[in-house]
Subunit: 376 residues, 2 copies
């Protein structure tokens, strides 16, 4: 939290204020409180921070959050509401009164409320401190992410077993029970496995054949035989809010030589990236090294080919800082990142492999512990 | 979408702009595009609106969204990035260039980006149009919410059956297999049932005994016998993004007379509320009628008792407009709302019943089709 104190000092502000539900990862990070109704978080230099919640949430907030807890009534909300019936303006007045000076807001703070606050107090935007703070994980956060990764691997294992039990018949896969194996069936298997670990899958990708050329198509209908199947799982732990992220590309049946070649090149790209990761390394340099690797192997990277970033931070959001992309940012020990090179060509298909791990002083501590299977 | 055109005209603005992922309900409403990376939505008067997405998402966006689709490259992002390396400032320039005039932003627009846009174009906040628009559901939206409600009732039915199969032994419930029935076990049963319907449960409440006095405690450990068990399920359909919301309070074993009395009073409160709902009715008047009903029946409402609102809109958010609370707002035919009276007393426990339905011209079309069970 020292980073936030430094930011307050630098901005010459009295208080840092956030506002939102626990869907807002920053707010969840700062408060550890789960709520589907928005709350106020307010912190001064040297303080842990206070959350302002409805009276009915005070007791639960005291249990869940390390922050000080204040009811809206005690913060003066209902008194102000008598003079100022617009709840947005009244909320702004509560914040202005409590801050009692200049206010620092995170970039994702809601604009409507910010405008009301600005009519009462000087306001500035805190750009980087929280992103940087959240990007370096504590031991506890690492354990929580490892736990989700473990659940993800169990789900991946079940998905791949389900595909393995099915047989290629003509151009698609058929289950032992004689029905067409669909993306929906595999996705359900994955989500059931995740649920047993207390995790939720969302927008999980089980795409096959032509679909795989489109990076984020979730996939539907019968799964194609003798063609790439991309399985990309990025669940959230319901209890802690942390994510993991993992992708495998498999072929059930015969892989075409060009897909086999793509898979080998993507796998090599990942190994290359692993070798370059360490504290202080530049994310964009690693991205560029992988892009060069692809071009050297004869793969175009634009407009098709290696069309996305090489990787991203993972935490309370599935995509967070640092990014390993064209712009990049320096890697720091304690970052949890994925490395997910991929190649995509319409009419041919796509291949992606994604593993997760921690940046360390002199390397990469891979959390993913799952074989590099391909033809199954 | 006429409402947004009217708002643009009223504000004298050229373009309405939203920015976010599909976690942002307004953005999902406007675009029907599912993305965990933020996109720009821009709309002028009379247009359907355009989304600006990474090149790799253009094809998928064309399939999923009724909006026009433009790549970031075509919107000039990468050209601007050469002069302006800060991606936030570059995004603001893309928006300012495309809008080519005054800009209208929704209240939840991220403040950091809004500030950058304000340095380039006059900006104003759109306060109500989208909230009002989203609060009145189309026939299709109603069908989607009914579908989630149906899944919710299946899950509720399984939860209650599981509790019924367990027997009170001393102060807690024991399964036919002889182990203590826990909140976690019932929650897992609920989430599994929801998953089979393509829905995701989140923060589902299965609280018992003392826990029930705390409105939003999720509940954990062995379930108490002869005491209230609150089951509150509010899942989201993964495919459509719509929610439903439903609560039952049951007792397995013997209900204490005071809990029995509370349940009857809450049930009567709900029936009273149903009778008052119609197009044009005032949400706060219905809330006040229920509060009076409780006071007349001898139940204090502060600081404990009827501590939350009477109900809320449900759609792409589990809590949205209109609210049936102290401030209230007029109900309009086509609103989908829950009616959830409750009473909570520390040391005694809590009771809540929640049903969902549509406000109609002259009444309430209850979607919930589930018995008012209590002692089971």
């Amino acid at each position: 939290m020292d980073a936030l104190d430094d930011a307050l000092q630098k901005a010459g502000a009295e208080a840092f204020v956030a506002y939102g539900t626990s869907e807002d990862a920053t707010l969840r990070y700062l408060t550890s409180f789960r709520t589907s109704d928005p709350i106020i978080y307010l912190k001064r230099i040297g303080e842990q921070g206070t959350i302002i919640v409805p009276a009915m949430e005070v007791h639960r907030a005291g249990i869940e959050s390390p922050c000080s807890v204040m009811s809206r009534a005690d913060a003066g909300f209902f008194t102000i509401l008598k003079e100022e019936p617009d709840p947005l303006k009244a909320t702004a007045r509560v914040i202005a009164d409590l801050a009692d000076g200049d206010i620092l807001l995170p970039p994702e703070f809601p604009f409507g409320l910010a405008m009301e606050i600005m009519s009462l107090r000087p306001v500035s935007v805190e750009k980087d401190a929280l992103t940087t703070l959240r990007a370096v994980k504590s031991r506890q956060e690492m354990d929580q992410i490892r736990r989700v990764q473990h659940a993800t691997e169990d789900a991946m294992n079940r998905a791949i077993s389900m595909i393995q039990r099915s047989e290629p018949v003509h151009d698609h896969l058929v289950t032992p029970e004689g029905e067409a194996l669909t993306s929906e069936m595999v996705r359900y298997e994955i989500h059931s496995a995740l649920l047993r670990h207390g995790c939720r899958g969302m927008d999980t990708i089980v795409a096959s054949g032509e679909e795989t050329a489109d990076v984020h198509l979730r996939g539907s209908g019968p799964i194609t035989a003798d063609a790439p199947i991309i399985i990309d799982i990025f669940p959230q732990d319901e209890e802690t809010g942390y994510f993991a992220d993992m992708t495998r590309t498999v072929v059930r049946g015969e892989a075409a030589p060009e897909i086999r070649e793509m898979h080998a090149t993507v796998s090599d790209a990942q190994i290359l990236a692993f070798s370059l990761i360490r504290d202080g390394a530049d994310g964009s340099a690693i991205y560029q090294a992988v892009a060069s690797h692809f071009r050297d192997a004869g793969y175009e990277t634009e407009p098709n080919g290696f069309v996305h970033s090489l990787g991203h931070g993972v935490g309370l959001e599935v995509h967070e800082s640092p990014g390993l992309n064209m712009r990049g940012s320096p890697l720091v020990a304690g970052n949890i990142i994925t490395i997910e090179p991929g190649l995509y060509y319409p009419g041919i298909g796509g291949v992606r492999i994604e593993d997760l791990g921690a940046v360390t002083k002199d390397g990469f501590d891979r959390f993913t512990n799952f074989p590099e299977i391909f033809c199954i």
